[in-house]
Amino acid sequence: MESFDPLDSAFENRFRLPGFDGAAFLLRSLTIPNSRPSASQAVMAFDVGFLSPDRKVEYLSRRVKVGFVKDLAECFWRMAQDAHPERSVPNFEDLEMGLTVAAVSSTDLSVEIQLTIVEEFGANVVEFDVLNFKTSRLALMGAVNDLKIFRDDWNTPMWGGEEV
């Protein structure tokens, strides 16, 4: 009998936006039970990773707003294209995930971005984890394309924002 690894059939569901000098913003999609009143039994969620040379932190199973992937891609697109995204591109916010993405500064070839995430929902004192790094406009354009990996995730058109 041929050997079969069920994980071989698992689709690619990881995203990575790297920065210079070892920083990266990471996403991995998964489906979780819908704990809220809704017609859907399950919703898409993400593991969010902040990477730098001296630490790697992951925030698991974060729910997202409708249209999360589409809006994030549009944010990255504008950061890559605009001459001064720190002035022209509104911050990306997803209150469900607790994530904010902002352009801090830019050059002709690079953009410095700041990602902020709520460490723990429901905590008495809300604390945030922050990751700042510089990335290239080329990498941001690549990220716009790479986010499409979540488009047909289990027939969930995140671009359209429908739940599973």
């Binding site: 990575r16 210079f20 290239s136 690549g142």
Partner: protein, 200 residues
């Protein structure tokens, strides 16, 4: 132009270097050092110059490297590390003098799953001296740290002659008779000039 790295690595025909870097001079260490050279394939949709700095950030022994692309847009990075040679204490073939740096690279590549290590080479301190064998200044090389031997070979990728590098190291300057943005280090001077002239 033929030099140590182009003779060593079977680059695809038409490959060209688009960037190069090396670290500042490191403190001299007394323990036996070994150099590891790895050729990494980078997907065409990634920014190879960014990925070079990204991977290097996870390599505590990294000394420098260079990157480029071939005629079919296949991107590559050559990473060079210098670290302690591991003393072999077991018959396990996976344990090699260069293991410390191989493990570091494997760890770095976990953060870029689409990059692949294609080739690995390792060189002892004396093998690196032999790489300069074509010049009459070899006797001076025996006083160099292993990292400087590697940095000198990287400088050859920029078109700098071994003689210029060996002489320039004494004065910490590659271009003493020219107006330039001196880095205070012959190897950094050479890399910086190449990068300026090639828009890197």
């Amino acid at each position: 132009m033929s030099n140590f790295f182009t003779d060593l690595i079977p680059f695809n025909e038409g490959s060209r270097m688009t960037g190069i870097w090396c670290v500042s001079r490191k403190e001299e260490v007394l323990e036996r050092q070994i150099a590891a050279v790895h050729l990494i394939a980078i997907p065409p949709d990634q920014d190879v110059s960014l990925e070079a700095t990204f991977l290097s950030a996870f390599l505590p022994f990294h000394v420098g490297g260079f990157f480029g692309v071939d005629l079919e847009s296949r991107q590559w990075i050559v990473l060079v590390q210098v670290g302690p040679a591991i003393e072999i204490t077991s018959p396990d073939p996976r344990e090699r003098p260069v293991s410390a740096m191989t493990v570091a690279l494997a760890r770095a590549l976990e953060h870029n799953p689409n990059a692949r290590c294609l080739l690995e080479f390792s060189f002892s301190h004396f093998a690196l001296i032999d790489a300069y064998a074509e010049i009459d200044l070899t006797a001076q090389l025996h006083t160099w740290e292993t990292t400087d031997l590697v940095r000198g070979l990287l400088a050859q990728m920029c078109g700098a002659s071994s003689a210029r590098v060996v002489v320039g190291r004494e004065g910490n300057c590659a271009f003493p008779k020219e107006i330039h943005d001196c880095q205070g280090d012959v190897f950094l001077d050479v890399c910086q000039r190449w990068s300026s002239q090639n828009g890197s």
